[in-house]
């Protein structure tokens, strides 16, 4: 062909960044062409993690969703504590830290939203194409996104829950329960020397347990977002998964449906959270929340695996 390859060594690259050492003498790469003076690093998961951290901290939706979550959890927790405190001593049927549940029930919706947006906003804007040209290992991109989001969601939720638990405990703790006072079944184990306290298990459940549960729910949302690639669709799906079971169970009237109703209640995500706070929706008052957390973890792992398989096969 008539067009020759560039034979002369190329002039210095377009910019010469300040402070940049003069580049090494040009050596033609095999096959001719340009060779960059910029140091070349082999990209690995660490790079993807740094990149995803920059992404998640540099959009407003992160600040908004997590900020609102924090305010809902702590604010409603505080209101609950004030309300319970004004009732004074008397009939007690709620564990000491259970007041944190109501705020978190709303707050988890923010985490779900953020989990979805972390991935669907890339599809919505077309950013995913830029992302995947920069890092063609799609599994690595998904893993980095999942890890960064999960850790961020876990830390912020656990912080909010811990603060709320401390509020509950400082305002309501030490209420005296005299032997003749009626006491709800749920709190029977939490009375020490006639005072309502929170056991260390209750502390763990209401802080790390709750944080883990909500962060897992967020991660499940991320996986659903990666599969559906559509913000509204994925958020709606997750809302349905969280809110529908208790609503549906309300319609399951009659003996024949009792099994279904109980299963819906037992395995609904809300019940998992409620159980961690010691106020399960089912009849098993003393159930532990951790088996349900395990169920959620398994479901999430499967969903993330499915999302990884899908992202590798689909065009973007």
């Amino acid at each position: 062909m008539s067009t020759p390859y560039a034979q002369q060594p190329p002039p210095s690259p377009v910019p010469t960044p300040p402070g940049h050492a003069p580049h090494p003498p040009y050596t033609a790469p095999p096959g001719g062409g340009y060779s960059s003076p910029i140091p070349v690093t082999r990209a690995h998961l660490g790079h993807a993690l740094a990149s995803e951290w920059t992404k998640i901290r540099s959009v407003r939706s992160t600040v908004w969703t997590l900020g609102i979550m924090f305010m809902l959890v702590v604010g409603i927790g505080l209101l609950t504590a004030v309300g319970l405190d004004s009732e004074g001593d008397g009939y007690i049927d709620m564990p000491l830290l259970a007041g944190g549940l109501f705020g978190l029930m709303l707050g988890q919706i923010c985490v779900i939203t953020l989990g979805v947006l972390v991935i669907t906003s890339e599809y919505g804007t077309g950013m995913i194409r830029t992302t995947l040209t920069a890092c063609p290992r799609r599994g690595r991109v998904l893993a980095a996104k999942a890890l960064v989001f999960f850790l961020l969601a876990f830390v912020t939720t656990t912080l909010a829950c811990t603060l709320t638990a401390m509020i509950q405990s400082s305002m309501l703790g030490g209420r005296t329960v005299s032997p003749e006072d009626p006491v709800g079944e749920a709190v029977r184990d939490s009375i020490r020397n006639g005072e309502l306290i929170a056991t260390s298990d209750e502390w763990l459940d209401a802080t790390v347990g709750a944080g883990l549960y909500v962060a897992l729910l967020g991660l499940l949302s991320l996986a659903v977002g990666a599969m559906l690639r559509h913000s509204a669709g994925a958020i709606t799906t997750m809302m349905g998964a969280v809110l529908l079971p208790p609503i549906l169970s309300a319609f399951m009237i009659g003996e024949s449906l009792e099994g279904v109703r109980d299963a819906l209640l037992d395995y609904s995500p809300l019940n998992g959270l409620a159980t961690l706070y010691g106020v399960p929706m089912s009849d098993e008052v003393n159930a532990s929340g951790w088996p349900l957390l395990g169920v959620l973890a398994v479901i999430t792992a499967v969903a993330v695996g499915a999302a990884a398989a899908l992202i590798n096969t689909r065009d973007v």
Binding site: P4, Y5, I38, A43, S58, M127
Partner: protein, 335 residues
């Protein structure tokens, strides 16, 4: 160096890219030309490993795209649509890309400077104009100081100054020994930028040629003559062995003769001339002729608005086989 071999992409019934085989060499700007819907963007997405080909393959410097260890150092791409999160500042957008390839942060400032966006580095691209968006995309493409750059319609939405800038940038990048692959549907734009030309129509390769050859073979030069007595002039010219053809608008067109010769003949026969002008058939016309039968979306205009060449729809029976003799096949054979 980019090599395509038998690259094919089908969307259901529709074949968007049809057995493309060509390579893009370093050191020159290669223009990738085709009418709307020809499959340029689809081809580029497959080159970047974003879409997977139905069959065939692409090699970047001999490797599959997903085997590249530091992709941004190999290839930088400006994609068709603004592929940017509108809520993340220009700086952070480039920073997250740089980090994913282990590119030092200072490179972000360097490319922002290079494309002239340094002053809006902390602004969100949501509010960027079309041209600023293109510049941000180009900044991202240059981030890794890549050996291959690929621009999908880079001058879209740019003002004349911006077009000039992109043009110079591409030529400079090529002069540095890089592979530059740029798509467009404007032949005129390519004729001033590209040294090599790949033309596709309906996903099929129509031409793979150097720009110089394309121009030589396609620029028909002729002389246009206007006179109140066209018949007399025609006869006079005919008598000297020169053939004049009457054009639609009443003028005469004379191929392969200098204007002076025609003027002399007219003077000898005392024929009044109103116009005597040498003409170059535009490359745009040549391009349209080349892709005429493959143009997918025709505007419904009167027949005279059509480019020369076989009328679309006639040459290709609906759903039938493609014509055996195509415009452009000669290109490949001629080499």
């Amino acid at each position: 160096m980019i090599e395509l071999e038998g690259l094919t992409k089908r969307y259901g019934e529709k074949t968007a890219v049809d057995r493309l085989t060509f390579s893009v060499r370093p050191g020159v700007v290669t223009g990738f030309l085709g009418p709307n819907g020809a499959g340029k963007s689809t081809t580029m997405r497959m080159m970047l490993g974003l879409d997977s080909p139905t069959s065939g393959h692409v090699r970047i410097d001999g490797k599959r795209y997903d085997q590249l260890q530091e992709p941004l150092n190999h290839i930088g791409a400006l994609l068709e649509a603004k592929s940017v999160h509108g809520g993340r500042t220009a700086y952070n957008h480039l920073l997250c890309l740089a980090q994913s390839n282990g590119i030092p942060d200072r490179r972000v400032d360097a490319v922002l400077d290079m494309v002239g966006l340094a002053s809006v580095a902390k602004k969100r691209p949501k509010g960027f104009s079309l041209g600023m968006g293109q510049r941000l995309g180009i900044a991202a493409a240059l981030l890794g100081d890549p050996r291959i750059v690929m621009f999908d319609e880079p001058v879209n939405g740019l003002d004349p100054e911006g077009i000039h800038w992109v043009r110079n940038l591409m030529q400079q990048l090529a002069a540095e020994g890089r592979t530059v692959f740029v798509s467009s549907h404007l032949m005129s734009e390519m004729s001033v930028t590209a040294e090599h030309l790949v033309v596709i129509g309906q996903g099929r390769l129509m031409a793979d040629t150097s720009m110089a050859d394309f121009i030589a073979e396609n620029s028909r030069t002729y002389v246009r003559v206007r006179t109140p007595e066209p018949e007399r002039l025609r006869d006079a010219l005919h008598a000297t062995g020169v053939n004049a053809v009457a054009a639609d608008d009443g003028s005469l067109e004379v191929d392969g003769q200098p204007a002076a010769r025609i003027g002399d003949v007219a003077a000898q026969h005392r024929v009044v001339l109103h116009e005597l002008s040498p003409q170059n058939a535009s490359l745009e016309e040549a391009f349209m002729r080349l892709t005429a039968e493959s143009v997918e979306y025709h505007a419904h205009t009167a027949a005279q608005g059509q480019p020369p060449g076989p009328a679309p729809g006639q040459s290709q029976p609906p759903g039938g086989d493609r014509p055996t003799q195509q415009w452009g096949t000669g290109w490949k054979e001629g080499r």
